[in-house]
Symmetry: D2
Amino acid sequence: MDQQSPPALRVGMVGYAFMGAAHSHAWRTAHRFFELPFIPELTAIAGRNRAGVEQAAERMGWKSVETDWRRLIERDDIDLIDICTPGNTHAEIAIAALRAGKHVLCEKPLANSVAEAREMAAVAAEAARNGVFAMCGYSYRRTPALALAKRMVQDGRLGTIRQVRAQYLQDWLTDPNAPLTWRMDKTKSGSGALGDIGAHSIDTAQFVSGLNITGVSALLETFTKERPVGGELVGLGGHGEVTADTPMGPVTVDDAALFTARFDGGAIGIFEATRTALGRKNANRLEVNGTLGSVAFDFEDMNFLQFYDGTDAGDARGFHRIMVTEPVHPYVGNWWPTGHGLGYEHGFTHQVADLVTALGAGTQPTPSFSDALTVQHVLAAVKDSAANNSQWTTIKGQDA
Amino acid sequence: MDQQSPPALRVGMVGYAFMGAAHSHAWRTAHRFFELPFIPELTAIAGRNRAGVEQAAERMGWKSVETDWRRLIERDDIDLIDICTPGNTHAEIAIAALRAGKHVLCEKPLANSVAEAREMAAVAAEAARNGVFAMCGYSYRRTPALALAKRMVQDGRLGTIRQVRAQYLQDWLTDPNAPLTWRMDKTKSGSGALGDIGAHSIDTAQFVSGLNITGVSALLETFTKERPVGGELVGLGGHGEVTADTPMGPVTVDDAALFTARFDGGAIGIFEATRTALGRKNANRLEVNGTLGSVAFDFEDMNFLQFYDGTDAGDARGFHRIMVTEPVHPYVGNWWPTGHGLGYEHGFTHQVADLVTALGAGTQPTPSFSDALTVQHVLAAVKDSAANNSQWTTIKGQDA
Amino acid sequence: MDQQSPPALRVGMVGYAFMGAAHSHAWRTAHRFFELPFIPELTAIAGRNRAGVEQAAERMGWKSVETDWRRLIERDDIDLIDICTPGNTHAEIAIAALRAGKHVLCEKPLANSVAEAREMAAVAAEAARNGVFAMCGYSYRRTPALALAKRMVQDGRLGTIRQVRAQYLQDWLTDPNAPLTWRMDKTKSGSGALGDIGAHSIDTAQFVSGLNITGVSALLETFTKERPVGGELVGLGGHGEVTADTPMGPVTVDDAALFTARFDGGAIGIFEATRTALGRKNANRLEVNGTLGSVAFDFEDMNFLQFYDGTDAGDARGFHRIMVTEPVHPYVGNWWPTGHGLGYEHGFTHQVADLVTALGAGTQPTPSFSDALTVQHVLAAVKDSAANNSQWTTIKGQDA
Amino acid sequence: MDQQSPPALRVGMVGYAFMGAAHSHAWRTAHRFFELPFIPELTAIAGRNRAGVEQAAERMGWKSVETDWRRLIERDDIDLIDICTPGNTHAEIAIAALRAGKHVLCEKPLANSVAEAREMAAVAAEAARNGVFAMCGYSYRRTPALALAKRMVQDGRLGTIRQVRAQYLQDWLTDPNAPLTWRMDKTKSGSGALGDIGAHSIDTAQFVSGLNITGVSALLETFTKERPVGGELVGLGGHGEVTADTPMGPVTVDDAALFTARFDGGAIGIFEATRTALGRKNANRLEVNGTLGSVAFDFEDMNFLQFYDGTDAGDARGFHRIMVTEPVHPYVGNWWPTGHGLGYEHGFTHQVADLVTALGAGTQPTPSFSDALTVQHVLAAVKDSAANNSQWTTIKGQDA
């Protein structure tokens, strides 16, 4: 039966935690629901701990393991490197992979510094000239409702964009006894809520509005300055009490990041990313107001887009609660009948589908590293402003 | 790496349409997220059209094909038969499979008549004594929010149940030009909205409340008596106009089914299943009111359960909008972090996980065919009542 | 300043409990926000208990009191009798008032029996020929969102109506220790949830859809058969415990009423009225599905109408959440700027405005007693069906 | 009947537009629903246009008129001056009234400058020593849901407050053709969205959290720099086209104001006030996150408070949607039964009830002018920061 099957795209993945699981699912699943030019093959997975990576390979369906990501890049049976590790490792792995002629999918944020990101974008641009492509994993772009929102903006259905409000609200660090992890260690994660979830808001806001942020004024706050070392996250009130004997470590990143922004074209924006908004679990929200219409989204209700159409009959105006599950909507026609919603991991599956489709066509997948670099510029400006009395800080043009 | 892998559970599936795709995904995915005693293997898929079934096998990941389901049952490399065909075929396939010593997973409704269902339940009970098990695919039971609702009822948090209101609202037959399919043909589907989606409401209501329906009064209605033959469903207004030349066929099932009900223990219920509730896409809703608390659910917001706790402080009472994505909730701890919602297909993956777990333990998975027979009794009583001036119609005890 | 003031409409009100307070507010307020042909004057209020009625007059702003409603009717300084007493007294008072040439506003339900209602409608029809008008207080018709819904149906924006679902859910009788009041005494109230709140659903469903109910099948239930005599309603769990010494009295009405219905024109409906839906406070809900559009309403969110417009662009379809506070919407232009919502009592103020406007024009205000009689026919049919094994019961045409 | 009636509180009101109508309703209504120590009497209303003020008096129920507010203050039959005029007039009127021994209710914002507000607070403090009291009309404090939120914070049910997010979103200036009014003229209104609605957010945030803002970083924006002179506000798309002949005038205030904030005690906040958020009508929203709980409110759903209780059972946590209409909630026990919601004007009626109650007790009503001065400090700091590159701007302690 296999004679007409598309050729394989042989994937090597680095990292196997939460993101690794989500990516693995996507690599296994995308070609089951989308017509793709290549069939992804889960060729190898790399991680430093042999027992851990072997167990992950078994669970997630990878055919072989490596304990050094450099080995993945050396292997000639691998076409694409998928980077699911903390941000401080992205630049080295991605640059090595691209230089070795491997396509790259790199988790967000692209890097922990503008300097790294700029170099990554430069290397990616060079590679692209040779048909080797890099993409950054801002997977929320592939949420059908947000893809629909972008299409509506592009089609002019919102008129001129005036205001953007983005919130990304979580609550898992509300409890001061929640343990320290790499996500609270600046050397690994670069920043806290800002880079982890605020980066998504920045990318999504720019993606949906089609506008770039040109300046910001920011405030960062860390409510809990040190946390217990060790232990698992189990939710508010579920952690053991911290005693005099509990080993503690410093939190070196922000719990919450607030900033105002201006976009090119005259729009203004307001952003909040936080891990201490008790009761909000994954409220990745975006609202865009134009002169003709508005859209509003909350990832906690990910199958819906709210759309206010200023051209509706006067007595019928109100946000349309669009259940984004119709064949006419982005991505969803490949899944289930109308009204049968999708979940978190579908964004990753769509990401793989879009990436593989672009590779098949020999075109640059988006967001490119250059696109992701614009997010890095904003992240850096936010940190600079916060460190400088919230002074207005201009985003320099992307120069990669 | 495979030496510690669990043994395979070799699956043969009959049918490859919408349900086949959902089941295939579940068979491929369950062991990636749940610790299972067997690893499902997609051994063979059967369908009458060779080209169609081969294409489906390729797309869905099945290793071999058959064009006659009887061949699946004859094969000794198959442990379980998964039945995803219209209801008129369930009894024959399931009974043959069970008698051949194959476990069975059968889509709902169990059958198109009580007589068939009763025979199926009897054969299943006999098989179970030999360690061969049958389960009916009322997959909504595995929606985490509904599993949580059931647990709350079981734990007494609602007190004595008094009222149940169930709605299953869809709108895909609003357009009189939508084409005729097997789902509107009584000989294949048994009934319309009643058996297709009302059956889910009946099962879910009984499952969550822990109570059986004892009597009903019903009304069935078919708004559009004949429909064009051929064509695809494309949503309201998207169908070609029906002209004098359009070949038409009779709709022999209900568009909408309404009924009132009594449950054992004194509770009352009200049910509606319809395919003509314009604007409602897959609003599978259930509310249960007890003397101490209430729960409410809508599948269009499947990651949430509304819970009213009558024991909350007096000024703080109000439905809790529980985002059912915490480790403490059923199923979801195996997926993503808090706040990262699931989609439609997860119910099927959970169904496979529960089924395979039960098979590993040698215990009866639920809902058994006997459980599913209780739904058939209700469906039959609804039809009887509707045909008899809505006269109150008692449900006879399940006697298989 | 008063020379151009409109003449007074001198009102005499019978009853001064909850409804009396709401009506008094409306009589005091309507001419402050609506241009009316008469200025209501709160001339006299009647109640049997002198101290009680005097206190009510003081509090509510009535100029004089009577301890016998007959005196109100005898007074020649009164133009209109407003009846806010339990249903068993409506017929006698209304008929006497109309025969004395007083206009009448009568609370709903119109009466406790079809026979009374029929006589009231006949007397009202006779009076109308002499320019004396009667109106029944189905005040929810004056909720702006429901008035908008009706207008949309009338304008054809829903197409052909197919389905109606109405729920009126309250929870104040969930607690079996809540005390007995006249509302649980059949001789005074006629029925329980059915007549108290189900009557609103029936009127609203007929009003919005523009269709009459032609038949029903029903089930009534009383969960708590006797209740403590005396005591105040204070919400779930707030009542004293019932002991062997607590004087108890029988509940002679329904706690919950469920029925299915058919409307003229082929639509079907499903209705529920209950006082034991724990957590639902005043969920007076109506949804109407047509072939082109749908509307949905919940009085707990009274300032909103949900409208699904099947003619919206394919990718933008979804219920519009219309905040019904724009000048283009019914009634609200007379109040506050856009977005500043109204409350429960505004329905009564609008009712007074509409009534006084009709009286000024010498036209029949609606709903007339004949309109209200159609509700009585349905209420009676519901009781008959429930008493007769839920057998389908046809509504006889209105014959007053 | 009147011998036991409380004495009158004779009110003179200045201004009779939107706010005048709301205040008049409150003065007429408060004693009908609340037990008050004085009965408000609508003694006189002042406005410069005799015809206009006479018509207003007739419509709103005022007994006499003046065409100069100074006359109101001179009259010895007036006990209280209610100031409903634009902000540039507040200081002069309020100071004159207080010095004349009249109580004062002054609409918000207290003044158009800190200097004026500081003087007003000083005069009010002096008057209070003589039993003459002044109050500022931040009426949203009297929304039952917000009063409940404050009580919950005070009772410690939220733990330590960490984050505040406030939005006040309207859309009536989205249309660039909407006409110029005094609200867009800085000399009269002081500022635009900032002072009109942002002031409410500041007061509400401080009121509910119990914390004062200590510093801000801000951005102001005016999207439409000039607007047609004349014409009425009629909503998006309803205005005539602007042509070369249309007389235009400059907009001298902000359309939108964004700022971040710090509160004493370590909490941070983010604020947005805008009149160009298309589709948002009166979305006065506040969310407060603490270490134990959170509350969230939106005035478009004014009868509800969302409350997340971190001490709920682990599987039952979720925002409680509290319908704030129970006797146990602030204010609402004086109105209708449970579930029968209130509207916009009730805040003003509660304001009158609280004010009159405080006057009866001889105690300072809140918010005092000193309380309102803290809002002025924040407004001034926002303007300063916005004019100074969003630089962090500290709020000086209130020194009146």
